[in-house]
């Protein structure tokens, strides 16, 4: 039984996220008045195994979040969404070129120095098509970039052939491998080779991962060091798939932290427990517009959208954590907030939806089901079985659609099933509760526009110029100008009812005898402090 696999970007597992920390923030590193316990062990429960430990082959959230313990980055994003220096002390952006000044004195876990060349070699490795690095096409749009190091001046210049609007956000997700591991990253199956705050000491797949504190580490994000009081000597991450079990472990003091989105959170009351929420991504409704399907008809898509009480769906799918309708496809995005686009989402009441369908030619028959030209309005709705809130939310949605005279077939699928439906068989009309945990909007371009499978990954056969034109321009436009373009792109999608935001993907963490804040919906390693 899988719990709300929040951050494991289930199917559309683009698990690169940037967390927009919000709400109850407590016990962060700025709090000096509490008693820190020195040198203990911090035990964390994770729902999923990180997967491959090779940073060039793993972009799923569990893996990416673990890399933050072991590797350093040029820069980071803090809990308020601000870019902060890490390996790079400062930077300037000019068109497609970013010039970094690097921090001196950084060493790898094997003692070797981390120089500008070391960092540049990471870019070169990723760029080489023979290495099939997974960052390409996701956080880096393509391989058209070069990294030029200057060891003497301790600077690094990264040049993208076409300007890339999210270059800084992308680099906050690009781990810098050093030492022996950089020479052949394929050996990184059970060990780490980085300059991060912790060193991996034990890795048992699906079970446990242990880390030791890296002595002398003082080049963390915003100058974080391991000398601060309360930094644990050891971190133990245990893989516990069952949320109730995780709650039990917390209650029996077997762990310091766990993500618990479901009703078991109710048991963790009392002064010993604190909780913090963050947004990991968004849950959205995607229509399949390939020709011949009822959802290729704009009227159908609009009607199906209008008739939903999206706030209620949101409350059900997040098991009560969020009671408002989603405002963005990528709510975890920190660079560009496109929530202004929601005004373009089709709205209306039952009557409006019904007349829209009737006018489009979908007329109710004797059995109550609408049909047009002899073809019934039959919808195949696929959803994930592995997220706890999906099934009841799906039932709500189905009930609302049935009232419209639509024949709904609910199609429960697991991860593999959804992948198959999207990429191989194309056999779905709508996926009302797709989980999207992506760090920035540019990643979605190939998916929401462009060629269809097998030549591309536009699985829903979307062709909305208002989106694709704006998006293509936006990706090359940094700053507010770019953000405005992204908002316009989103508007295009919503007007055409191609894909509609339904809710957020929340992450609710409980902690005891420790504090930390969250990054991409996971524990941020340099913020961990043990309490007495």
């Amino acid at each position: 039984m899988r719990p709300a696999k929040v951050a494991l970007a289930a199917v559309v597992a683009w698990a690169l996220l940037v967390s927009a920390a919000c709400s109850s923030d407590n016990g962060s590193s700025g709090d000096n008045s509490t008693d820190f316990a020195s040198g203990g062990t911090f035990t964390l429960l994770a729902a999923d195994d990180p997967g491959s430990l090779n940073p060039f082959q793993n972009i799923q959230t569990p893996g990416v979040s673990m890399f933050k313990y072991i590797y350093s980055y040029l820069l980071s994003i803090d809990s308020s969404g601000k870019l902060v220096p890490e390996l790079a002390t400062s930077w300037t952006v000019d068109g497609g070129t970013v010039a970094f000044k690097l921090k001196p004195g950084v060493t790898c876990s094997d003692g070797s120095p981390v120089t500008a060349t070391t960092i540049a070699d990471n870019f070169n490795y990723a760029k080489d098509p023979a290495n099939k690095a997974v960052q390409i096409g996701i956080i880096f749009p393509d391989t058209h970039f070069t990294a030029t190091p200057d060891d003497a001046a301790n600077t690094l210049t990264v040049k993208f052939d076409t300007p890339y609007g999210f270059v800084l956000q992308a680099l906050s997700l690009f781990p810098i491998v050093c030492g022996a591991g950089l020479k052949d990253p394929n050996t990184l199956t059970a060990k780490s080779s980085g300059s991060g705050p912790f060193v991996l000491t034990k890795a048992v797949t699906g079970t446990e991962y242990d880390f030791d504190k890296r002595a002398g580490y003082n080049w963390g994000p915003n100058g974080a060091t391991n000398d601060a009081p309360g930094v644990p000597n050891k971190i133990v991450e245990k893989i516990v798939g069952n949320q109730s079990t995780a709650a039990n472990l917390l209650l029996s003091k077997g762990a310091n932290a766990a993500q618990i989105n479901g009703p078991d959170g109710v048991r963790l009351t009392g002064s010993s427990f604190k909780s913090v929420d963050s947004v990991v991504g968004g849950i959205s409704m995607l229509f399949n517009e390939s020709p011949g399907r009822p959802t290729a008809d704009l009227a159908v898509r609009k009607a199906l959208t209008m008739v939903l009480d999206i706030a209620q769906v949101s409350a059900t799918v997040t098991q009560g954590i969020s009671k408002v309708a989603g405002k963005s496809l990528t709510p975890a995005q920190t660079a560009c907030d496109d929530s202004a686009a929601v005004s373009s989402i089709p709205t209306g009441d039952q009557a409006a939806a019904e007349s829209l369908l009737t006018q489009a030619g979908w007329v109710a028959g004797a059995d109550g089901i609408r049909a047009k030209d002899g073809k019934p309005l039959a919808i195949n709705a696929s959803y994930l079985t592995t997220t706890a809130g999906d099934a009841p939310a799906m039932e709500l949605i189905a009930t609302a659609w049935k009232k419209l005279g639509v024949k709904v077939t609910q199609q429960p699928l697991d991860n593999a099933g959804v992948n198959t439906a999207m990429f191989s068989s194309g056999n779905y009309d709508v996926m009302p509760l797709i989980e999207l945990a992506v760090p920035f909007q540019s990643i979605l371009i190939g998916w929401l526009s462009g060629p269809n499978p097998p030549n591309g990954i536009n699985t829903a056969h979307i062709s909305t110029p208002a989106y694709s034109d704006n998006a293509k321009k936006a990706i090359q436009t940094p700053g507010d100008a770019g953000c405005a373009l992204w908002t316009a792109a989103a508007k295009g999608l919503y007007e055409n009812a191609d894909i509609i935001p339904m809710s957020i993907m929340p992450a609710r963490y409980f902690m005891q005898k420790a504090t930390f804040d969250l990054w991409i919906g996971r524990v941020n390693p340099t913020s961990i402090r043990l309490l007495k």
Binding site: A247, A391, M394, P412, G417
Partner: protein, 655 residues
Amino acid sequence: MAKLSFVRRPRGVTRYVCLGLLAALAFLALFGRTIWGAQAARSDPIRPLEPASSAHILGTDQIGRDVLARVLNASLLSVELAVMAAAIGVVIGVTIGVGQAVLGPFLRRLLASAIMISLAFPGLLLALLVNAIFGAGPTGAVLGVGIALIPAFARFSQALASSAAGSEYVAAARVLGVGRVRIMVRHILPNIAKPLLLTALGSVGTSLVGISALSFLGLGVQPPSYDWGELLQVGLQVVYVRPMSAIGPGVMIVLAGLAFNLAGEAFAGSHPRLSVGEFTGTARLTRRFTLATSRLANRRPDRAADAEELVASASPALLSVRDLHVAFPGRSGPVVAVRDVDLAVMPGERLGVVGESGSGKTTLALALACLLERPATWRWREFTFDGESVKADSQSAYRRLFGTRLGFVFQDPANSLNPAIRVGPQLAELRQVHYGASRAESRRMAVDRLREVQIPNPEIRARQYPHEFSGGMRQRAMIASGLMGSPRLLIADEPTTALDVTVQAHILRLLERVSDGTGAAVLLISHDISVVVSFCHRVLVMYAGRVVEDIPSDWLVSRAAHPYTRALIQAVPDIDDLAGQSLATIPGQPPNLENLSTGCAFAARCAFADDKCRQDDPRLTVLAGPHSAACWHPRTSDELADEPADAATSNRSAP
């Protein structure tokens, strides 16, 4: 020999519980939807996960639906799926299992091996695999569980069919050239149908639980459909917060599973092991024909003198019991198996006890050896063995006494020796337990005893298992076991009944030699009067639990006084009589001990009975010296001399 295993089951309770559960289940399955369907669908998403209350007895689920209504509504689907899965397993499994029973030997072995291997494979994994192929959902679940059931049913029906196929009517059919499929359908299937059906019923319960396990993993029935498994899976997600959501469907699964599993045994029909063998009232006079051996006339001449001497001697009785009384619980009150028995065995005496099945002779033997067990009840006024007085209620106190000085030889050597233990140690342990002898010492003694009873190569034999011995050898070994102590008395219960006629004589001769050699007395129980006469000094005749005659064996033929004894004597066919003649029987039925009439128990079958016989029960009275009989009209020697050989019985039945 009486198999004194007594079983009185409260069958009724299981049956009623099971029927009740099944009826409730059927009701829910058939009418659940109509009654609770609408309520189950009513959702209230604003108020999810309400706790149990008067409005919602089990609370509500994640979108506010009443859990109890959903649980009851799920009955039809849950039961349906379980039945379908069981059907798949049963039909395919039985076809394979029965089919292979009519295949040729090579194919049969192959198939049998395949079944054994697949039986070992974990069922749930098989179900998972099948499920993975067909995707999550009821089809995959039903197929998965059904296919996982196939090996078990193949094995089970194979075992049943093999034993049926080995039976004679199938052999006959084969000889007659009946085709394989026909044999399977017409001969084998009907005979294995009943146990198969009951097991099939039980497997519905197993399927139910199996499908729920798949649902627990999220692979079973998917929303919007729901069965108990799916409800349980959803409920378990919130079990710590809203336990009722899980308890509801969980209880249903357990109850339904229980109902089907119980059905298997509640209706299994009686086991064959019911009656207290001797007391069914349907036992008929059984006899074996002792053709070639001892005729009644063939006896040692000095036996009578021995007997008189023994009785007249002043030496105290080796074993003496007064007013022995044994009863068993019967269907309607206690059944008396042995009543008012006074008995004495002299040292060195060979005493025989004769009677038909049901006469109480084996019970008597067990009582004298203090081997009776509850629920039998027994009492006596006095019991002395080898100088010690034995109390009825504390038999364990006499362990050493009986262990060392009394030997018991059982009837059926095939089963009296423990098949899992070698013969040597079975003999030796008596020495170890009661005499504290070492292993080596007691083993040596066991080998000696085996030699004494004339088993060749006793050292090798001692290391063998009972099944490697022949029947005669086993009986010798049994006697040897009786000799491991220092027995003053050997009680032998029908020691030769299960043996070949030729071997019988040897065993009896052995017993004689042993008795003479060690000076031990022998109490020989038999239904065969000729055996008893040739071997024993004295004979007790039992009828309906009572000793009806006590007579030296020499006098038996000529002077037996009780009409029953006379009838027994005459019922023994003489080898000269056989040609062209019919067999004698005693008319009437043996007495039904549960329902004894007043008066003499033999009256109904006695040619000489009168009203006094039918009203008053005669006691054992001395007729002459060592001879007593319990009869109002004992036959006198004059009458006997005048009688033709076959007069005591009024008929001879046709052959």
